[in-house]
Structure formats: C-alpha cells, structure tokens
Amino acid sequence: MATLNATFSISSTDLFDSVNISKTVSKALTVDGDNRQGLTVVKTTTTRMGIVVEALSGSTGGGKKAYVYIKNLDATDRIIIEDDGNAIFADLAPGEFCFFPSADNTTVHVKASANTPLCEYLILEVD
C-alpha cells in the first residue's frame, strides 16, 4: 500500500473584517492504482490534450478515481482543464494550482488560453 501525504492550508487576514482565518488539513491518501504518473511538465497549446497515459479505472469512490495536481507555470497565459467529455471545470491563472480527487473520468484534458504555457502535473490512480 503506497501513501501520499497531502496537507492543504488556507489563511486570510481580510476575508472578514473582524475574523482572520487559518486552517490546515492533512491526510494520508492511499494510492494503489497501476497508473502512477509522477511530477511531469508539458507544453500546452490551445488544442486540448489528455495528460493521462493509461485510461483511469478502478471502482473506489465512484470509479476511475485518481488524485490530480496541476499547476500553471506560465507568467501570462491561463491553462484550462476539461473532463473526458470536454466539459470545462477549471481555469488556472498564471501560478495557480489545483488538487482534487478526480472521478468518473478516464482522462483529464488541459489546454492553453493562448500561446504555449507550461503545465506541471501529477496523477495517481487510486485503485
């Protein structure tokens, strides 16, 4: 059984006028799938590109589940993320990242808003 330790923190001093927030959540995530793609960087274009080498599968948590990290390394252009049905659900401004348990999708698509921004990603199939 392989484990990914994920820690996410949010802090803000101006979300509310009277209360500051600071929250950290950590969890050890089990990764037993055979599709484990380590940190990778690809050059994107305005044409969608699947970033999963082998179609995601498995039955846990709704099926085809994988932990996905994507970061936009560009300083100017955005990176758009689509599911396997080409529905857009995320838009990473320069420097932004996302981390989520993908499900019910055999792949994840990325494309650039313009030009060829670099995209850093990690995909770990759960089972």
Binding site: L4, N5, F8, I10, S12, R36, L92, E96, F99
Partner: protein, 151 residues
Amino acid sequence: MSYANWNGNKNFRATLTLESEGEHAIFGADTPIRKRTIIDCPYNGKVMQTGSMRLTGQGTKDNLALAALSGDNDRAYLYLFNTSVSTSNSTYVKVGLRAAHDTDSASGDWFATLPSFGQLFIPISDMQSVDLEVIGSSTPIVEYMLLQKDA
C-alpha cells in the same frame, strides 16, 4: 463594478504540500516525492461564501452557490472538505458542475469525489454553481469556501 459593503482586492493564501517517502513511498523509497506550492488568490466577486452544510442525502443534489457565479468565465475559487470520519469506501460526496444556477447538474457533469476527511481545491470556471450529492446512507457535513474572482 464594485460593491460598497465589501473591501475590494481581497486575498487568501493557499498552500499545498505533497509528500511520499519511506517504506510506503509511491515510487519506492529511493524516489521520494516532496512538493510544496503556495499561491495568493485574489477575489472580488459578489459571491463570497464560507461555511458548512449538512448534505440532504443520496438522491438530492445540494446547490452550493447562493447566487449564480458570474464575471469572466464565471471563475471562482472552490475549497471543499468532507468532515465525515466514516471509514466506509462506499460513502463519498460527488461534486458536479451546474452550468445554470437553477438547474441540477446532468449525470455526466460530476468531476470529483470527496471521501471521508477528503478535500479539494480548484479554481473553477464555466459553471454558475456546484452540486454536492452524498452517495451512501449518511448525511455528512461539508465545509466550503466559494469565492468568485471577478466583480
């Protein structure tokens, strides 16, 4: 457009740390993963929600946004945390996109799943709201932040 009762140009800081090393390392003990990334997230929209919600139950899609997300491509920051501590793999929360605020997501519109104590952070776009639906017999409480980027 600005909103007189909001302080403009707000930010929160998001930090993600991913580690896998030692005996149970994903790529073996000789290939550890250590990744840390930090961003400051600006938001200035009319939808600024934080809170927690007990989900209704299986078969009901709970609509997260109180008003339709808008602005450039309806972009917003979404953070979700499933507070349930159940160890059952058959209980989880489906996260789907509502293209229109007042219309449930379609069956193929869910893009993430939250296990017990699971979390996600996504700068979402192209949806006016987010659906949450529990699969299983429980009614977990989900903590959330939904912060529209543009006014």
